[in-house]
């Protein structure tokens, strides 16, 4: 009994023990620099190519908006999964997250994508909402009004002779705006993405 009291006294009256008891402190929580955070904007200029929207797996997580004459991507934090695919896919390096951009430059990794527009003519109502909402159509033919009719043959798709017609599938950027605009979910854009390494971008 007395022995054990002495043992405990000897154990606890050591300077390191008292110091640890009084000044014990948990290491502060630090987010490491390599953590894949929500994508942040770098200083580089966005060319509104919509590649980030094309590759984003989460609905409504990223938008490319024009404000004061310049385009820039906007990340909606409640929807973003922090997967970092937009950072990897952006050809201009507009977005940054963790070490992804740095690694991408070192390893020369990239994503390449092709797009295929599929319209189900049984459910398509020829309303033209897809053609009007398409941002590429808007650049080619700013005059395109509701109904999706156009005299311009440089657009991706239009309503021609009462039928939805895809003219330039290769111009599609895969942003899926048309899918959201279609009231019947009749239009679908297949995005065939492949991960590459050592191939020059562009």
């Amino acid at each position: 009994m007395v022995q054990s009291i002495f043992w405990y006294l000897k154990e606890f009256l050591r300077a390191p023990w008292i110091h640890a008891f009084l000044f014990a402190k948990t290491a502060p929580l630090v987010t490491p620099s390599y953590f894949r955070e929500y994508p942040s904007l770098t200083e580089k200029e966005c060319t509104h190519c919509f590649t980030c929207r094309m590759i984003c797996p989460a609905p409504g997580a990223i938008e490319v908006l024009q404000e004061g004459g310049t385009w820039h991507p906007v990340i909606h934090r409640g929807h973003c999964l922090r997967c970092g695919l937009c950072v990897e896919a952006c050809p201009e390096g507009v977005l940054a997250s963790g070490r992804i951009l740095q690694w991408q430059e070192e390893d020369r990794t990239s994503f390449a994508a092709t797009f295929h527009i599929q319209v189900d003519h049984a459910t398509c109502m020829r309303c033209g909402n897809c053609c009007v909402s398409c941002p590429v159509n808007k650049e080619q033919d700013p005059q395109m009004a509701s109904g999706g009719h156009s005299a311009n043959n440089e657009v991706i798709m239009k309503i021609s002779s009462g039928r939805h017609t895809v003219i330039h599938e290769e111009r599609c950027v895969g942003c899926r705006t048309c899918e959201g605009a279609c009231p019947n979910s009749a239009i679908r854009v297949a995005r065939v993405v492949e991960g590459l390494q050592g191939v020059a971008e562009g």
Binding site: P32, Y34, F35, R36, I55, P57, A58, L81, R82, C83, G84, L85, E88, S97, G98, R99, I100, W103, E106, D107, T109, A112, T114, H116, R188, A190, R191, V192, V193, E194, G195, L196, Q197, G198, V199
Partner: protein, 361 residues
């Protein structure tokens, strides 16, 4: 046959020992459990339905979110299925890096499983030690992929990020630290007299019973069945993988088997890092149409994905079979009946490491 049942005792769905909601109904006479039944369905997500019509870059993230604890293997099995469908080959370096990531995930999953067992038998000190050790495994994965849980590391034709030499050195140092800690805590578990009274001879699953219930993973291997899907995986075959088997079939064997598998995983990672060939990490290749069944060894056992895709690589049909389904069956129909104390029901159930999130998708 008419049976005298004292009372049917429900445990759960909200229970301090369960990580996820499930209800175990035990028919008891006195303290003895006569039979048990598990009710599931408290967290159905419908992920397979959401996956349909989507390309790999979206389904990959959904597959990971089937289960947060074993997210890497879900990603791996799905991506390997898409590669098999489309005839994509993976560069050697990427194949090795996949194994590194998968084994790191297995380590953290086994540590979490052993944590919950120790927590269930109220050995909270050892439980917290194990949970603390798990953080180091999580940090290793964060250094490679950038995040701790849903890594999204593998893509068709390779992996997303390469392993840097500096990170590799740090990883090896972490592995040494992990090995020390797991060795210490594994020995604590193995030699603890009170742990032994709660674990040895409790919840016995005989080999024949395991076969009848088609138990998989550590639950089957602790009952003497040498089954592991990694035996058929090409990269693991290169690494000369052989499964660890124990024959006792009780709670103690299942937990010790997981400790042993952690050492095995550490060995596999070291071997991968040693043999890691130089070269590209992505081989390219687009996904196409086809139908396949892809299998892989999750931390809890065999995981399989049935995949049917269209010409642009979009999922037409997908069915996921997770390892916890047969393991829960083995637990309720073979381990729980005959348990001599109701206090052991929770520990027996947790020792089979049921993952309800996997189960209900």
């Amino acid at each position: 046959m008419k049976r005298v049942v004292d009372v049917s005792i429900p445990l759960g769905p909200v229970h301090p020992c369960w990580k996820e909601p499930a209800r175990v109904k035990c028919e008891t006479r006195g303290e003895k459990v006569l039979s048990a039944e598990v009710e599931l369905g408290y967290m159905k997500k419908g992920i397979e339905r959401i996956m349909r019509g989507r390309p790999w870059q979206e389904v990959m993230f959904l597959a990971e979110r089937v289960c947060g604890i074993c997210s890497v293997i879900h990603n791996m099995v799905f991506i390997e299925g898409m590669e098999a469908v489309s005839g994509i080959t993976v560069p050697d370096r990427a194949a090795y890096l996949r194994v590194v990531m998968n084994e790191l995930d297995r380590i953290q999953s086994h540590l979490l499983a052993n944590f919950s067992y120790c927590y269930t038998i109220e050995h909270e000190t050892l439980a917290m030690y194990l949970l603390n050790t798990r953080e180091r495994a999580m940090d290793c994965m964060e250094r490679i992929a950038g995040v701790r849980v849903n890594k999204a590391y593998m893509i068709p034709g390779g992996v997303r990020f390469d392993l840097r030499d500096t990170d590799r050195a740090l990883l090896l140092a972490d592995l040494a630290h992990l090995e020390d800690s797991v060795h210490r805590y594994g020995r604590m578990f193995d030699t603890g007299p009170l742990i032994a009274t709660r674990s040895k001879g409790v919840g016995i699953l005989m080999q024949e019973q395991a076969r009848i219930a088609r138990a998989v993973g550590p639950t089957a291997r602790a009952s003497g069945i040498a089954e592991d899907v990694r035996l058929t995986h090409p990269t693991y075959r290169k690494l000369a993988f052989t499964p660890i088997v124990r024959t006792e079939g009780d709670n103690h064997a299942r937990i010790m088997l997981r400790f042993d598998e952690i050492f095995q995983s550490l060995g596999l990672i070291r071997q991968c890092l040693h043999d890691l060939p130089a070269g590209p990490i992505r081989g390219g290749g687009t996904c196409g149409a086809g139908e396949t069944v892809s299998r892989g060894e999750a931390p809890r056992g065999e995981l399989s994905y049935f995949i049917r895709s269209d010409e642009y690589g979009r999922i037409l049909d997908i069915a996921i079979r997770t390892p916890s389904i047969p393991n829960i069956d083995a637990c309720t129909h073979h381990m729980l009946p005959g348990v001599t104390s109701l206090a052991d029901v929770t520990s027996v159930f947790v020792s089979a490491d049921p993952c309800i999130a996997c189960n209900e998708r």
